[in-house]
């Protein structure tokens, strides 16, 4: 006789997520230089002046702002939240440096301590892992490690503000070239008010000798964070870039509207990995970060390749669609994603692959996990334009549900204008198996560990794409985020 199917079991067993403490929820007492709340042309001029920006950049900000005030916030995404009061946000906050720092050892000890607590060491000599870090607190880059070593091979890795001062031609040429200010509401807002971010330039033929990494931290209260990241890989260059994010526990929602632009020229390769762990809000859904982000790469040259890998476990709401414009012939775009929503988190995320060049190829692998009251939506667009002869896409969306109060949704859009295009879409939704759990437990593996093991197995395809160090972190993060999801 076969095993009986029960309707009780796990759904009874799995309760809402316990109020698992968010480990990065502390606030550091930093002396902060803060602009008044609200947004207008004066505030933008203030940001620009604080950063000592050239006129063209101020003009570009104002142009974006004037367009932005004509726009309405998008409503098509499958998420729900109270209207955002854009006049109730601080658009510029910067930790005040105690003095000008000449080396990493002189960074404000409180800042160093904050990053130590986050497990990020800003001391170059202590880092054995060979990762260069740009640390960004609130709106300002506070430290960039390994600058000199990178400069020796011609790699520029610095804060965006610094790039504006020291490499204005590169910034002017590429800023907004992949995500124009008219692209969408949040990208437009970012173009008006962005404060800092990372800038990275890999010259022709250079294989970047270490992983580059940006660590974002929101610290100040009521502050929006609007970073701008720009990565340019010249002909034949290679870079692997990592991004990590955390924020303190706040009972009010915080807005994070970043823009990331990647440009890969002929034969160049950019690998961009994100582990996003912004504060997700408490067990009742209060507070948490609104993560409304535009990320796009331009595979501009022949045989260029851009890969996005993301592990999204934080934020109250995630709204992001990292994409690739496949312009160069034979160029490749990839998107590997794990998105976990628990508590009352909502995610509407996926990818956008636009094929312009011949024989371009794209792959989308999306793994969505919903627990508690989490709502997880995959939204993707695959566009194959007239010019894209022989283009191919493969999309796979898998959803895993834990418990009975969560949801998974899929909205794939496909537009094929060239008859030679090939598009494949596979989707699956499964409940975390009662059978799988029982099997693990029968072997002696406690229930929580079993859930974590099954979920990590479900995500393995994506984790394999992460750099080693991040893969370990991502697994731990997933385990922590699932704690209390059962039992």
């Amino acid at each position: 006789m076969s095993a009986p199917v029960t309707t009780t079991g796990i759904s009874d067993e799995v309760r809402d997520l316990a109020n698992q403490e968010y480990r990065y929820g502390f606030v550091t007492d930093l002396d902060t230089d803060v602009a008044p709340k609200g947004l207008n042309e004066d505030i933008i001029a203030l940001i620009s002046a604080k950063k000592n920006e050239p006129d063209w950049l101020l003009e570009s900000r104002l142009r974006a702002y004037r367009h932005w005030i004509t726009l309405a916030e998008p409503t098509w995404q499958h998420v729900a939240y109270a209207p955002i009061d854009y006049q109730d946000i601080i658009y510029y906050a910067a930790p005040k440096p105690k003095k000008q720092v000449a080396s990493m050892d002189e960074v404000d000890p409180e800042l160093r301590e904050m990053f130590d607590k986050l497990g990020i060491s800003l001391g170059e000599q202590e880092r054995l892992s060979g990762v260069a870090v740009d640390a960004i607190v609130d709106s300002v880059s506070v430290a960039t490690t390994f600058k000199k070593k990178l400069a020796d091979v011609g790699v520029i890795f610095c804060s965006f503000s610094e790039a504006v001062q020291n490499h204005p031609d590169l910034v002017r040429r590429y800023l907004g070239s992949v995500v124009p200010y008219k692209d969408n509401f949040f990208a437009c807002l970012n173009a008006a008010v962005f404060t800092d971010g990372s800038f990275c330039y890999i010259p022709k033929g250079v294989h970047c000798p270490m992983e580059l990494s940006t660590y974002f931290r929101i610290n100040a209260a009521d502050t929006g964070q609007f970073e701008r990241t720009l990565i340019i890989a010249e002909e034949g260059a290679y870079v692997s870039y990592l991004e990590g994010c955390t924020a303190p526990v706040r009972d009010k929602n915080q807005l994070h509207a970043a823009v990331v632009e990647l440009v890969a020229l002929q034969d160049a390769q950019i690998k961009y990995s994100t582990v996003q762990n912004w504060y997700p809000g408490d067990a009742d859904g209060n507070g948490g970060v609104y993560n409304f982000v535009t990320k796009r790469g331009m595979a501009a040259g022949r045989n260029s390749k851009i890969s996005w890998t993301q592990v999204e476990t934080g934020s109250a709401i995630t709204w992001k669609y990292p994409g690739v414009i496949l312009k160069g012939d034979n160029s490749v775009g990839e998107f590997y994603s794990v998105a976990l929503t628990s508590r009352h988190q909502q995610a509407d995320t996926g990818s956008k692959m636009v094929h312009l060049g011949k024989n371009t190829r794209s792959t989308i692998i999306s793994k969505a996990i919903s627990a508690g009251h989490g709502q997880n939506t995959y939204r993707g667009l695959v566009g194959i334009r007239h010019s894209a002869t022989g283009a191919r896409n493969f999309t796979q969306c898998d959803s895993l549900l834990i418990g009975k109060d969560c949801g998974a949704h899929t909205f794939p859009y496909v537009e094929v204008k060239n008859p030679t295009g090939q598009v494949e879409h596979e989707a699956s939704t499964s409940k975390i198996g009662e059978e799988q759990l029982l099997y693990c437990r029968q072997r002696g593996i406690p229930e929580e560990e079993a859930v974590s093991m099954i979920v990590n197995g479900f995500c393995r395809e994506v984790f394999k794409k992460l750099p080693m160090e991040f893969a370990v972190e991502a697994q731990k993060l997933l385990t922590v985020s699932l704690e209390g999801a059962v039992g």
């Binding site: 009986p4 799988q436 437990r441 029968q442 072997r443 560990e449």
Partner: protein, 260 residues
């Protein structure tokens, strides 16, 4: 007495499947449980490992402990193992990793040191020979894409690695060809030991040609209706379950809980 089951009842949504089952098993013994479809054999296995969804009453003492009071993982730690009839696939979880995690969970719960990956690999390799499995199985995901026979061998391998005190084999012979059956049975026989009891649930007498039991019990309608030595299985093959069920209808006049 390793296992003592008294007056065990189990029902699922008002449908009573086990109706006052009694069974005793000593360490070192292999008992076969036979019976027609729907007689409650797999339910017995499920209730013993603590699958949810049943209303259970009665008593199950395992080495003096109240087994029914324990969670599935605690039962495993106490030494209860089930070779599943339909082993489930766990995509993305490596077989070797799974087994190491299981063994170390058991060791942890028993206050023993965990095995590191190197020591575990050595152990696994040694035990794999018992069921003639090669290393390629270990790097694959748990049961994923395994044939029926491979899944069953994988169950016996886990039994060999976890070294339970009580092993329950739920229709381990189903779906196996004769060669696979021999491999599985050899593995099981190699694991027979003085300190270990086994409950071999099967539909067919065939398996008992390879795994010779100390006792044979026949189940019908949620009870054990006859018990005997290995010859009972042969008798059963000759007369079929119908004959037994007839005797059961007489037996059911005996007060519930009486030993037959």
């Amino acid at each position: 007495m390793m296992l003592k089951i008294e007056n065990l009842h189990a029902s699922i949504e008002d449908n009573e499947i086990l109706r006052g089952l009694n069974l005793e098993l000593n360490a070192g013994e292999v008992h076969a449980i036979m019976g027609p479809n729907g007689s409650g054999k797999s339910t017995l296995a499920n209730v013993l490992i603590g699958r949810e969804g049943y209303d259970v009453s009665g008593s199950v003492r395992f080495q003096g402990q109240d087994l029914l009071a324990l969670s599935p993982e605690d039962r495993a730690a106490a030494g209860v193992f089930l070779a599943f009839q339909h082993p489930v696939e766990i995509p993305g979880v490596g077989n070797l990793y799974f087994m190491r995690t299981a063994l170390n969970s058991l060791r942890r719960q028993r206050g023993q040191d965990e095995l590191d990956p190197v020591d575990f690999l050595a152990l696994a390799q040694e035990r794999m020979e018992l069921v003639e499995m090669d290393q390629s199985f270990m790097s694959r995901s748990v049961n994923e894409g395994f044939s029926g026979g491979e899944k069953k061998r994988n169950e016996i391998l886990q039994m060999a690695i976890l070294e339970p005190k009580l092993a329950i084999l739920d229709e381990t012979d189903s779906g196996l060809d004769i060669d696979a059956l021999r491999v599985v049975a050899n593995g099981v026989n190699a694991l027979r030991s003085e300190g270990r009891g086994m409950l071999v649930i099967t539909h067919h007498q065939r398996l008992l040609d390879y795994i010779v039991p100390d006792r044979v019990h026949v189940m019908a309608a949620g009870q054990i209706v006859r018990s005997g030595d290995k010859d009972l299985a042969l008798e059963l093959e000759k007369h079929g379950y119908a004959g037994m069920t007839q005797q059961h209808s007489q037996a059911s006049r005996v007060p519930v809980g009486a030993t037959l």
